[in-house]
Subunit: 333 residues, 2 copies
């Protein structure tokens, strides 16, 4: 591949001149020379070596993203949101998929640090004060987290508690008294918050919190199916289930049908995330919408701002919205 040397030689100028032309330097260069350089660049199909450039400038125009699971629609959308604004601003991204494994999280952080990313967006899905996160400290001032992690970085946060409250209240309003909950992984703040919202709404309405009505899944339809199957075979089964994400809600509906229960007549179901499929499931799924794409975009905006100014608004909150569909259609009288 051609280097700046090659261009300089062929155009009969010094490498400094070539560099000046290519970077629209304030240092003037004769129009004629300029054209000659540009022509040569085109001829040789020259593209600057970003490695050398970054080494010199101490800036890579690359940011790292750390997420648990790219095949989860929730994270996929976040990444899209990030990439959209990254593209616009000339940044590109290195993606790290951790599968929630602590060693992979740490490895990712170190890797990104070595690769000299300008900044990192971390959406870990892990518990507060989690040890591995300390590896991020070296990068202070260049890290944005998505979701609530009790670490001292600027953050973009979804009101998961409020969203879960919305869902739970919705079921209560429909006169359900025994409401089951299928949560996510126990070490994820998202999971914890959604459980919190569920609990506190029960309390607010004067309902007891019954451990027997709570199960945990790993966010897949299968785990939702399994949890629901257990929940529904209890002697005093719930008349409604709130699942911590849509995928598990789908599994729940499947389980209900398998047991001969009709949704929503015999069992009301609410999910969380509003994945594109939720409105086309049979029956369509009531759920809580999160503006995931905006979430990613906001994180990237925040990061860019942070890297440029080093002063920033510490947090940006995103509200959720309940979308009622067939899976919680009111009982006909």
């Amino acid at each position: 591949m051609a280097t700046i040397q090659d261009v300089a030689r062929q155009a009969g100028v010094s490498i400094a001149t070539v560099s000046r032309v290519l970077n629209n330097s304030a240092h003037k260069v004769n129009l004629e020379t300029r054209d000659r350089v540009l022509k040569t660049v085109k001829e040789l199909d020259y593209r600057p070596n970003a490695l050398a450039r970054s080494l010199q400038l101490k800036k890579t125009m690359t940011i790292g993203i750390i997420i648990p699971d790219i095949s989860n629609h929730y994270y996929a959308e976040i990444v899209r949101g990030i990439q959209n604004v990254a593209d616009q601003k000339g940044y590109n991204i290195i993606l790290q998929n951790t599968e929630r494994k602590p060693d992979r999280i740490v490895k990712s952080i170190y890797l990104l640090r070595e690769k000299i990313v300008d900044g990192i967006i971390f959406s870990g899905g892990i518990i507060h004060g989690y040890e591995p996160l300390s590896a991020l400290n070296e990068l202070k001032d260049r890290v944005v987290v998505i979701g609530r992690h009790e670490v001292n970085f600027p953050a973009v946060v979804v009101d998961n508690i409020g969203g879960a409250a919305l869902a739970t209240q919705h079921l209560i309003d429909l006169k359900h008294t025994r409401i089951g909950f299928i949560g996510g992984p126990q070490n994820s703040t998202t999971g914890i918050d959604r459980l919190t919202g569920y609990k506190s709404t029960l309390a607010q309405n004067g309902y007891p919190y019954d451990e027997c009505l709570v199960r945990r899944g790993n966010l897949t339809p299968k785990s939702g199916y399994q949890a629901a199957a257990r929940l529904l075979s209890e002697k005093d089964r719930p008349s409604a289930i709130f699942a911590a994400n849509d995928q598990m809600a789908f599994g729940t509906i499947y389980a209900a049908r398998e047991m001969g229960l009709r949704v929503p007549e015999d069992l009301a179901v609410v999910g969380f995330d509003n994945v594109p499929l939720s409105s086309y499931f049979v029956p369509s799924l009531s759920t809580v919408e999160i503006p995931m794409n905006s979430l990613g975009a906001a994180a990237m905006d925040l990061l860019i701002n942070l890297m440029a100014n080093h002063n920033f608004s510490r947090m940006k909150w995103f509200k959720t919205r309940l979308i009622a569909r067939e899976s919680t259609a009111p009982k006909k009288n």
Copy 2:
């Protein structure tokens, strides 16, 4: 951040020695000195600057992935497959999401070239001989494509034609005579191949190919819903529909139900991809399984081999498998 200079100074050795220790160089270094260096490295939390290292070695241990849509489960799984083996072999990845836009594809290729990736895995979802792909030529010998693109690179390919044939034949075996098809974007080889498999199977069984039975979607549930709605409101509506991916099949089932048709009694439906949800949809979806994860892994293996040896097996094929579920349950007699 500490540099190799800092370590050398503090350990009282030259940078050459530090480098030797860190790279387990064949050039021997005294055990005592070695320990001293290692201790200093730990103290300073030194990590080599990958930029400088790569510049020197002309090797970045980074590969680029170009895909159309990360939020599509199909591609998400491919990425996971790639990342798994990449992790094992010490490579990391830069992800480019093109959304099938030609300008973004070209931009991505140039970007990756500048960033000096060691290799590229391209899964474009675009038509044969497509112009922008010529930008990849500069990277000859370091590119693997996923899917059939008529370009001269080693490839990992899924037998989409065979898979579509499997699905179509399945419906024919169930005595369906009017079988609808909902295809994908017209400029994707995947879409073209699945249509080809459908057509040729019809022909083999002596059925006519009826344009009226073919619609196109963009792989989302919504587009499947819309296409199916049109298809099912024709005067002589099909008794079965084969959708080019599961998402559109879901939309199809929703449309059928909305029109008062039961699945599978009034309409049989087959999808393609076997996304995790397909077995938990209501009714569960018959579909064609692709080993997506293995596909990604194979692509990465191929690329690593390619970069190391420059000789390679030009293609690796993956077979598909039909999974019959409720959405095509045979009519009860």
